[in-house]
């Protein structure tokens, strides 16, 4: 289908190689295993394939068909048209990793700009070219911190209010090293972990403390004291951040974080059922040499012209092999480009606007819901950004089912990840949700309650 060869081409080429037929080129493959019969559907034309894919897609109900309050790590933001339009330039998406700087300045400059945007957004000094997603960025933070202390500090303290999937991925990555203890999130404290108790666990064996901001439940917590204590013990602190919230909130760099990382999906990347997204990752200068992943730097060419190149590659697997700081090879190239275009389009004013809209609408939603009997806001005192938790008197699955019947994706059932939070529902509200939508949700929940 995508091979352009005419019969004549094949003949001429075989002749030139000096073999009679193409099969002769595969003589080194053991004969009994050559040309297996594959049980695959017969090939389709492009027209048929497009039709098939359209009907598969039609079997889904989407966030366009349903009013969605789902968040929990992936958020439905408006993506300006120019983002995807520019991403579809073949010069960007059909290019390889920019190992040849002379003919990759487009990709390199975009990554360089991405690094800058992430630094400015998070208040950090150095950003890499990205990791796969927020969860793998969390694992890379642990690897970095562990290596920073030459594997001598054996403890990583992680808050239970860090995204459960991030915590799972950290444990998957680190499972082969039984001497490393990943602790701090085991006790079923629900939505109200005791900050002082958590801080008290920091000691001289602690390599890294990981917290989330806003936390997994959407709350804005003051980590100043935690970071001070960690630094007194010589430990590093990594803060997982929601980039949209940073349109409004003090960045982690300003409160002393050593590492800031997070899920970049809210920055112009479609939900796309969980991927591809992007993990951003930034550090203070002191940790620069420990940073994994790609880095783009500025330099000049032989004529003195400004040029961008991949730099400090000596940390990477293709040079260092088993001594590399990570096995990471790719970054999320095109996704970082999406985030770079998104941030350029929104700029300072746009991102502030989106953050404010999320904040205002989430608070209005929380306010509406707290007036409905059978539903109560779980934490009425801690400030929150665009996500919050309500406790339901009825089983949350029934509430969600009722909402779905009214074309509403009601949010995330926290009982999936937190046994102690059975019947707790978490809702996320973005700028795409209107007042009318919120009042519709509220009306349907009233009905649920009285129906």
């Amino acid at each position: 289908m995508f091979t352009p060869h005419t019969k004549h081409d094949v003949e001429v080429m075989l002749n030139s190689i000096g073999v009679g037929k193409i099969e002769d080129l595969f003589q080194e493959i053991p004969e009994q295993f050559r040309y297996p019969d594959l049980n695959l559907a017969p090939r389709l034309t492009e027209m048929e394939t497009a039709g098939q894919l359209e009907s598969i897609a039609a079997a889904n109900a989407t966030t366009k068909d349903l009013l969605s309050f789902l968040g929990a790590g992936a958020y439905d933001h408006y993506i300006p048209a120019a983002v995807d339009n520019l991403l579809q330039r073949g010069e960007f998406y059909t290019a390889y990793t920019p190992y040849q700087p002379e003919i990759s300045q487009g990709t390199l400059q975009a990554i360089f700009e991405f690094q800058t945007l992430i630094c400015k957004l998070t208040g950090m000094d150095v950003s890499n070219a990205s990791h796969y997603d927020g969860a793998t960025a969390a694992a890379e933070a642990v690897i970095l911190a562990y290596g920073n202390f030459r594997n001598k500090r054996k403890k990583v303290l992680v808050s239970r209010a860090v995204n459960p999937q991030y915590r799972q991925v950290i444990r998957t990555y680190m499972q082969a090293d039984s001497s490393l203890k990943i602790v701090g999130d085991e006790i079923e404290t629900g939505i109200a972990p005791d900050m002082q108790k958590f801080i008290d666990q920091i000691d001289h064996d602690t390599a890294l403390v990981i917290v989330q901001y806003p936390d997994f439940f959407g709350r804005i917590i003051d980590y100043t004291q935690l970071i001070e204590t960690a630094h007194q013990f010589g430990a590093l602190v990594a803060v997982a951040v929601n980039p949209t919230a940073l349109g409004m909130l003090t960045p982690p760099g300003d409160i002393g974080a050593d590492i800031a990382f997070g899920e970049g999906q809210p920055l112009g990347i479609p939900l796309s059922y969980g991927g591809p997204y992007l993990g951003f990752f930034a550090v203070k200068n002191a940790l620069l040499r420990k940073l994994a992943g790609r880095l783009v730097g500025e330099t000049t060419d032989v004529e003195g012209k400004l040029a961008y190149v991949l730099t400090l590659t000596a940390r990477e697997q293709h040079i260092r092999r088993e001594k590399a700081s990570s096995n990471i090879c790719s970054n999320q190239g095109l996704m970082t480009l999406a985030a770079t275009i998104y941030m350029s389009l929104l700029g300072k004013h746009g991102l502030q606007q989106v953050a404010n809209l999320c904040y205002q609408k989430a608070h209005y939603t929380a306010d509406q819901l707290s007036g409905i009997s059978g539903f109560s806001l779980v934490d009425e005192t801690t400030p929150f950004f665009h996500e919050f938790v309500v406790k339901c008197d009825e089983p949350v699955e029934e509430v969600l089912e009722h909402l779905l019947q009214h074309n509403i994706l009601g949010g995330y059932n926290l009982g999936h990840d937190y046994p102690e939070l059975e019947n707790h529902l978490m809702l996320a509200v973005t700028e795409k949700i209107s007042r009318e939508d919120i009042e519709y949700l509220s009306a349907v929940l009233q009905e649920e309650n009285h129906g």
């Binding site: 001429v12 889904n60 059909t94 920019p98 487009g106 400015k120 730097g297 088993e322 746009g350």
Partner: protein
């Protein structure tokens, strides 16, 4: 002219997009948590569009020309992939929706798992890994856990052929495996005698790329697998080079235990300037329970009346979750589309033409360049980019000079076992005319090396920038744009 950065182009007060004013009663902002400054660029939409269009034109890309980058399989990325993966039915689904609202997604992922199983001859597939390197990590985690579960704690050695990709040793080292290099023999195969010597009860596994990075199919594949298995080890197959084998050979049939795919190489999903990739992993029956959590399966068979219900399965001895959600779903759609359009017949055609193209180029170039392993190759081959009579010309010079002829250079200085390596992979989507033009350019460059070597040393001449000072980049580190008056250099 250098294109200014988005920060250079920023003018206070501009914005490329505006949002509606809040339509809800305002709530006070959280005091004490508000940031003071936010240094993001301020640009109009048109300025943004022109900026990114302008820098895009400084890239080489498959859509522009021939990309014979060895081990990267830079084949054409069909446009239909981009259309279907953007269908709102896929792109606007949230990963935490109830499964009965995303049966289309789950059906597609399940079907792709089945297709990959069938193509490579395995019992189960996970689509979760984000890239080839993460697929390798999954594979090595499975090997680790498998031996631990069996109480074989002493199995800590991973054999890795000297021709392997750098990610192989890096992935193994991440799990604390002792990396033991395995030499190649004079035909480019795994050295059987050396392998036998290294196979004892400390053996955890072998990471085996076949065809290897020399582009050669290991003629002793069955014996290699057998030796490792008899010693109690597992064989990990690096599927980076699967393009040569589609419809021709299934690694699972000879007992390879684990294999990762690179959807962005073999199955036409775009490289995106360095990602996102996708690295599904296939395993044999005895390793199914170790796969990452979750994988997609049928959780209710259904009957004549009702369709089967697709959902998530949690493997019993799983190594755990390896990334958020279920993998790079957008890439799964593209790979599914590609396989659906090829079927068995088309897949075999891909491998055959890829191998035909590579052998044609090898044949045409081996008189001009030294071919260290003179055998029929698979989808790629490796030349020496070096001639004894012009010793100050290096592979790098040849690679850079190719840019002046509007070709992307081959991979150079890899694999490490070939002196001044030039690793060439044409892929099946290139015409004979393109290959002939490439041959002409390579021969012309060989001639220039003798007649005008400075042309090569100073190449490229016609590119947006010329050879860049990489030492300076690493020494005077500047990793951020100038923003206002802030000096962007790094003070360590």
């Amino acid at each position: 002219m250098a294109e200014p950065t988005i920060f250079d182009l920023s003018v206070a007060g501009r914005t490329g997009v505006t949002f509606p004013e809040p339509d809800v009663p305002e709530t006070a902002l959280p005091k004490g948590f508000l940031r003071e400054k936010l240094q993001l660029p301020e640009m109009s939409e048109l300025e943004v569009v022109r900026h990114f269009t302008s820098i895009s034109q400084k890239n080489y890309a498959i859509d522009l020309g021939f990309y014979p980058l060895g081990s990267c399989t830079m084949k054409y990325n069909p446009k239909i992939n981009e259309v279907v993966s953007r269908l709102p039915g896929f792109a606007a689904t949230h990963p935490l929706q109830p499964i009965d609202t995303v049966q289309g997604n789950l059906f597609l992922m399940y079907s792709l798992q089945e297709m990959l199983k069938e193509i490579a001859g395995f019992a189960a597939v996970t689509l979760q890994p984000a890239a080839g390197a993460q697929g390798e990590l999954v594979g090595t985690l499975i090997i680790h856990k498998y031996h631990q579960e069996r109480g074989d704690h002493q199995r800590t050695r991973m054999l890795i052929p000297d021709s392997a990709h750098g990610t192989n040793p890096a992935s193994s080292a991440m799990l604390g495996f002792e990396v033991v290099p395995l030499p190649s023999d004079e035909r480019g195969n795994v050295d059987i005698a050396a392998l036998k010597e290294l196979c004892d009860d400390r053996l955890a596994g072998l990471m085996f790329t076949n065809p290897n990075t020399l582009g050669l199919f290991d003629e002793n594949v069955c014996e290699v697998v057998d030796i490792v298995h008899k010693a109690g080890g597992l064989v990990y197959g690096d599927g980076a080079n699967m393009n040569a084998l589609l419809g021709v050979f299934r690694p699972g049939d000879v007992g390879i235990d684990i294999l990762h795919f690179n959807l962005h190489k073999t199955f036409s999903t775009p490289h995106g300037g360095g990602g996102p990739g996708s690295g599904p992993v296939a395993v044999q029956q005895h390793l199914v329970d170790y796969l990452p959590d979750p994988i997609v399966g049928i959780i209710d068979e259904g009957d004549e009346e009702t369709a089967p219900l697709y959902g998530f399965i949690h493997p019993e001895k799983s190594i755990g979750r390896i990334k958020s959600f279920y993998g790079h779903f957008g890439m799964h759609i593209r790979a599914y589309t590609y396989i659906a359009m090829l079927g068995q017949e088309g897949l075999r055609d891909v491998a055959e033409i890829a191998v035909l193209n590579a052998n044609y180029l090898q044949e045409k170039l081996k008189d001009t360049f030294t071919l260290p392993y003179d055998r029929p190759c698979m989808h790629e081959f490796v030349l020496e980019g070096y001639w004894k009579d012009v010793p100050d010309i290096h592979a790098l010079d040849i690679a850079k000079r190719l840019m002046d002829y509007d070709f992307h250079p081959p991979t150079n200085y890899f694999p490490l076992i070939v002196h001044e390596a030039l690793m060439i992979e044409p892929t099946e989507t290139e015409t004979k005319e393109t290959l002939d033009r490439f041959v002409d350019a390579m021969r012309k460059i060989a001639e220039e090396a003798r007649t005008n070597p400075e042309l090569l040393h100073n190449a490229p001449h016609n590119t947006p920038v010329r050879r860049a000072d990489e030492l300076k980049a690493a020494k005077d580190l500047v990793l951020c744009c100038y923003v206002g008056d802030d000096w962007p250099g790094v003070q360590e």
